[in-house]
């Protein structure tokens, strides 16, 4: 597992049924591009988060492909419609095969 990787998400605790909420996510990750060289001239191997998805009650909300030019600690902010109470599931896919997951519950009023 890559070191220092920690996902963080911010989802409101409740929303009005059918309303739109703003979701913020950030994962601490060095996002090594694979373009850089170390002091000996050897290429530092690429190590990035290459895909990020968010699902709500099993339905996909957003599915992002990340490329090497994206900076350290990738941050996403997006909106989602919340038709009913349920669970958001966020997933980050690392180049090294690791998968990081976080879930957040939301209620409707």
């Amino acid at each position: 597992m890559a070191s220092g990787v920690k996902p963080r998400v911010k989802v409101p605790k409740s929303a009005s049924a059918g309303g739109t909420v703003t979701i913020k996510t950030l994962i601490s990750h060095k996002m090594e591009s694979g373009q850089r060289k170390d002091s000996d001239g050897n290429i530092i191997p690429r190590s990035i988060i290459n895909r990020f998805t968010a699902d709500f009650n099993g339905q996909n909300v957003i599915d992002v492909t990340l490329e090497p030019a994206i900076s350290t600690n990738p941050y996403f902010e997006f909106e989602a419609v919340v038709p009913e109470a349920g669970e958001f599931k966020f997933t980050w896919y690392d180049d090294d095969g690791d998968v990081y997951e976080t879930t957040k519950q939301i209620t409707v009023s």
Binding site: K6, K10, K24, L26, T72, N73
Partner: protein, 283 residues
């Protein structure tokens, strides 16, 4: 996304109309998390002869960079604060103590950042927050000291700063600290390097102007440690001093040296009255 690009377009159009080399500080107001009001502009302390108003570096940054500091979730500097919170509660060294063993919750440190660097009676010298952290580690915890500008140290200073956000910087420059302060002032106005630039040449005479592609601030340190977008990490005051002196093409002083301690006290005193902001976000 579309809305945002429209906004940027509008700002671009406005600055073309403005058209002057003078580019700030802007008029934006900083509130963090919608609750911590930050003073980013105030009357200069009496000892400053050449500047009437002091501004936080936040006021010189673009709207996009400013926005990142307005919410702790968005602020990547808070990742360092979270790391430090783990260290805060983890026992280290021969005494089996953590920071929390003596100090309690990290919030107990509120107000500490605002008054450092500060005269240490026991040591008979002005000490910085970093030195006090290492002092605790070595003498109270029996742990190895941290590298002065290392990430463990800078994260810890960011944690201690974060609980003082919104409090006014108020370092003492009289009494036993005065001679150190005088030494720092001397350094501030001394030209160094092949470019023969002093701190004052850029940060007092030319703030608001562009230095190549960057926007010169007053060089205030109320926002340190600072998360810089250019190196995507928290940067300590002395690391920044070193970078600045290097940029004058001089041999620099070392982080933690007597010279930089004095300079930190003097530069901090130029920000007396601004709010503690660290960890701030700059480009």
């Amino acid at each position: 996304m579309q809305q945002k690009s429209k906004m940027i377009g509008l700002f671009a159009a406005m600055s073309v109309v403005g058209g002057a080399a003078w580019a700030g500080p802007d008029e934006d107001q900083l509130t963090i998390n919608g609750e911590i009001a930050i003073v980013t502009e105030t009357a200069a302390p009496e000892h400053m002869a050449n500047v009437k108003t002091i501004y936080s570096g936040w006021r010189f940054r673009s709207d996009e960079t400013q926005a990142v500091q307005m919410d702790d979730f968005d602020n990547p500097g808070m990742l360092g604060v979270e790391n430090a919170l783990v260290d805060w509660e983890t026992a280290d060294g021969s005494e089996g103590k953590s920071c929390a063993s003596c100090h309690g919750a990290s919030e107990e440190m509120a107000g500490v950042r605002a008054v450092y660097p500060k005269w240490n009676e026991e040591k008979g010298m002005v000490t910085t927050l970093e030195m006090e952290v290492n002092n605790c580690r070595e003498t109270r915890m029996g742990a190895e000291k941290w590298k002065y500008t290392g990430s463990d140290m800078t994260d810890m200073v960011a944690l201690i700063s974060s609980v003082s956000r919104g409090m006014p910087v108020n370092v003492a420059i009289d009494g036993p600290a005065q001679s150190t302060w005088e030494q720092g002032k001397e350094l501030y106005y001394t030209r160094t390097g092949q470019l023969e630039l002093s701190c004052a040449n850029c940060h007092e005479d030319s703030y608001g102007m562009m230095i190549r592609a960057d926007h010169l601030s007053q060089g205030q340190i109320n926002g340190f440690p600072t998360y810089r977008l250019k190196n995507t990490k928290l940067n300590s005051v002395h690391a920044r001093f070193k970078g600045c002196v290097r940029d004058t093409r001089a041999e620099t002083f070392s982080p933690g040296s007597a010279e930089f301690i004095a300079l930190e006290l003097y530069v901090a005193s130029r920000g007396n009255g601004l709010s503690v902001e660290g960890p701030s976000v700059r480009n």
